[in-house]
Amino acid sequence: MVVGAGMVGAACALYAARAGLDVILVDRGPVAGGTTGAGEGNLLVSDKEPGPELQLALLSAKLWGELAQEMGAAVEYEPKGGLVVASTPASLTALAELAAGQRAAGVSAVRVGADQLHELEPYLARGLAGGVLYPQDAQVMPTLAAAHLVRASGARLQTGRTVVQVLLDTAGAVRGVRTDRGDILAPAVVNAAGTWGSEVAALAGVRLPVLPRRGFVLVTEPLPRRVRHKVYAADYVADVASDSAALQTSPVVEGTAAGPVLIGASRERVGFDRSFSLPVVRALAAGATRLFPFLEQVRAMRTYLGFRPYLPDHLPAVGPDPRVPGLFHACGHEGAGIGLATGTGHLIAQTLTGRRPELDLAPFRPDRFDRADPLDRFAEEAPPWIP
């Protein structure tokens, strides 16, 4: 029984079904009605520093490649590669160091000299110091991907149904969920509720501090293909890993199969504030036109926003919850839930069927915040006199 029909829940449903399980997928809204329908579909290895998240990204990239054999066109899968550019020699040096570490972890990363940048991206701004090409970076259309994975899973999909309680037996193990339209009994429940994963965890009586990090995306009018890769400035990696609540915008620019160029995304911690922010959108436009000056004349058609689900250490929660037998978590993927969905689904299916997971799940343990430094509590609940 999977709670949440976003990208992550869809992947859990698919791999669990393929592992031979009978799967029910429940969502209070439609398929992809949460963050999945509000973000972009970059499948990136390039923006991750060596470590457990990169391992999950590499596993996921391989699995996305396999799924693309089956349904690549339907989900608009494009293995287009990412190009990270540096504007100054200093940032190029930092980028080269990161790439060296990534290469050691199994990423292919190719140095691109300043003179070669325009062979890869003819419309890129002049005067950049150089870059690194990441051929493994790819892209899908998230809503289509979630919908097609759900369909391929054959899982029983129940949309418009809200989980209001996780049912436990006398021994404290999961026996199903209560919804606003009756109980669903199942020996295993997967929490794939994204940004609302903390609420679902609380329904089972456990703490999982998933929080929202707002992002805006700018969408242009449809254009003929002028941006070939995912292109972003080297400072993006620093933004992704950042702990700061303040606004960060160093946009990824990419063309899509349907024609529009997507420019995203900003990162800010402002809770679930849905109001439009012109300064944020201006910053995205400024970053994109710096990389691609031709975009100045191109029109922005719309913006959209979503709330990335993040955990304090910026790693997702993946795997069984030792506190409640039968409860599994697959949430908190922050700005990479589309990319990391396949690996997550695969690992969840392995643990659900009692097999040894392909990756060490220790860094993703859902109860890791219980054991955290007691000072964390103070960090989260800052006293009111602190601005």
Partner: protein
């Protein structure tokens, strides 16, 4: 606040915006009237472009005298510099700031540069737009919207065709049919899907609104004079033609709204004007975070939205005709003048306008119910091959697949899965049709940009000007 006179930016120079601008300017407020058209007037008093040499524009309007009074009032305030009229300005965003609001507008027609106007208050009077529901053949050249036909008549004085059918539902079809006929077109049929019972059932409301009834009677007389055959409880099922429109199939509807088999007939025509009513323009209000009430912007008795410093009047708050827009605009202008100069307004001062507002609102609520009762089953006529979103060429079949097999349950997901409503018009044209075919509610689209904006304009903000 400094000694400067407070500034009210009025967006939209239709009946609501003009009435609001005049009321505020007469009470000590500087008004900046921003509108996308070349001339003031809005949809109803749309002006023939200068230089086209329209000799008797009043022949195209009734209520010409109201317009003349608004026009004279505007000219007086313009001459006294109490009002500045920025025409050809397309507002793409109204930004809330700590010290007021900034209106961002692209300069037409190229819309490549943006100006910013700083104001203490904003009156949203952006009117409504037409709702058109798809049917097989509706994308053929020769098929136009009812409002489009009317706008052509009023603005460009171009006669869109020679043999016309006017079809759909709603009170707009009457002026469109008479307008076309008066301009020399042969209107062979007015096909209204509401039936007589929908109107007789609400007789009590009609009795309470004699002027509106009289207006209806005038239209009926005009239709007779032009020999326009009005068929109630009928619909155009399909438009036919190879290169362009050649004929339409018209059929009677049963009480459920389904076509009655055997009643189909072909009507030869080269123009079909279709309309299914209007919807409020709410993009700017949504970008500001104003609460909506159904499809329109929610306002209080003073026409204030729930965002401080932002008023709304006219069809952006709900569809109700030009007289209602005038009343609401007037009240909004008076409220804004008082509030922006730091006083509390006395509603008794605008009691006549408030009474008109109450009467017209209930009249239009009843009218709306009468018309809405009918096109219930229209989606059954929409074949899978029918294109429902013209910008992205999405068919009804693709929308149905998104709902049926891909798990979409709301309009947003349908759009994401099919790209319907993602093109140039951003769903303004196709959203009601897509929602209908998908069988889901028409939810607000949350369009944060009211117009497409060049990224260069976004990247380099213009300095806000305050009118002197």
């Amino acid at each position: 606040m400094t000694a400067h006179r407070p500034v009210l930016a009025v967006i939209g120079a239709g009946p609501a915006g003009l009435a609001g601008a005049l009321a505020a300017a007469a009470r000590g407020v500087r008004v900046v009237l921003v509108d996308s058209a070349a001339e003031a007037g809005g949809q109803f008093y749309r002006q023939p472009a200068r230089g086209l040499g329209a000799r008797r524009p009043q022949a195209l309007h009734h209520q010409w005298r109201t317009w003349e009074r608004l026009r004279t009032g505007l000219d007086t305030h313009l001459a006294a510099a109490r009002v500045t009229h920025l025409s050809d300005r397309h507002v793409w965003c109204v930004e809330r700031q700590s010290d007021g609001l900034t209106v961002h507008a692209l300069i037409g027609p190229e819309q490549e540069e943006s100006v910013a106007v700083h104001a203490d208050g904003v009156l949203l009077a952006t009117g409504g737009y037409e709702k058109v529901l798809p049917f097989p053949g509706w994308t053929l050249p020769g098929v136009v919207t009812a409002g489009g036909a009317q706008a052509l008549l009023k603005g460009g004085l171009v006669l869109p065709g020679r043999t016309a059918v006017v079809a759909g539902t709603g009170p707009l079809l009457l002026p469109v049919a008479t307008g076309l006929a008066a301009a020399g077109a042969q209107v062979v049929a007015l096909v209204e899907s509401a039936g007589p019972a929908d109107f007789t059932r609400r007789a009590r409301t009609w009795a309470g609104a004699p002027t509106k009834l009289a207006e209806g009677a005038v239209y009926a007389a005009r239709l007779l004079r032009h020999r326009v055959a009005v068929t109630l409880r009928h619909a155009v099922l399909e438009a036919h033609g190879t290169e362009r429109l050649e004929s339409v199939t018209v059929a009677a509807l049963d009480p459920e709204g389904r076509p009655v088999p055997g009643t189909e007939r072909r009507v030869v025509c080269d123009t079909l004007a279709v309309g299914h009513g209007l919807l409020p323009h709410t993009d700017l209000a949504e970008g500001l975070g104003c609460r909506l009430d159904g499809p329109g912007v929610s306002v209080d008795d003073e026409q204030r939205t729930d965002v401080p410093g932002v008023w709304a009047a006219g069809e952006t708050t709900g569809i109700g005709g030009s007289a209602l827009s005038l009343a609401e605009g007037h009240i909004a202008g008076r409220s804004a003048a008082a509030r922006l100069t730091g006083t509390v307004p006395d509603p008794r001062e605008w009691a006549p306008a408030a009474r008109a507002r109450t009467g017209l609102r209930s009249f239009f609520a009843a009218l709306d119910a009468a018309y809405a009762a009918r096109p219930a089953r229209w989606t059954e006529q929409v074949t899978d091959e029918t294109v429902v979103c013209r910008c992205e060429e999405v068919t009804a079949g693709a929308v149905r697949e998104a709902v049926g097999t891909l798990g979409a349950g709301d309009l947003r997901t349908v759009k994401l899965l099919t790209r319907a409503g993602m093109g140039w018009c951003q769903g303004r044209m196709c959203e009601p049709g897509v929602a209908g075919v998908a069988g889901c509610a028409l939810t607000p689209a949350r369009r944060s940009l009211a117009r497409p904006v060049p990224l260069g304009v976004l990247a380099a903000p213009a300095d806000p000007s305050t009118p002197q």
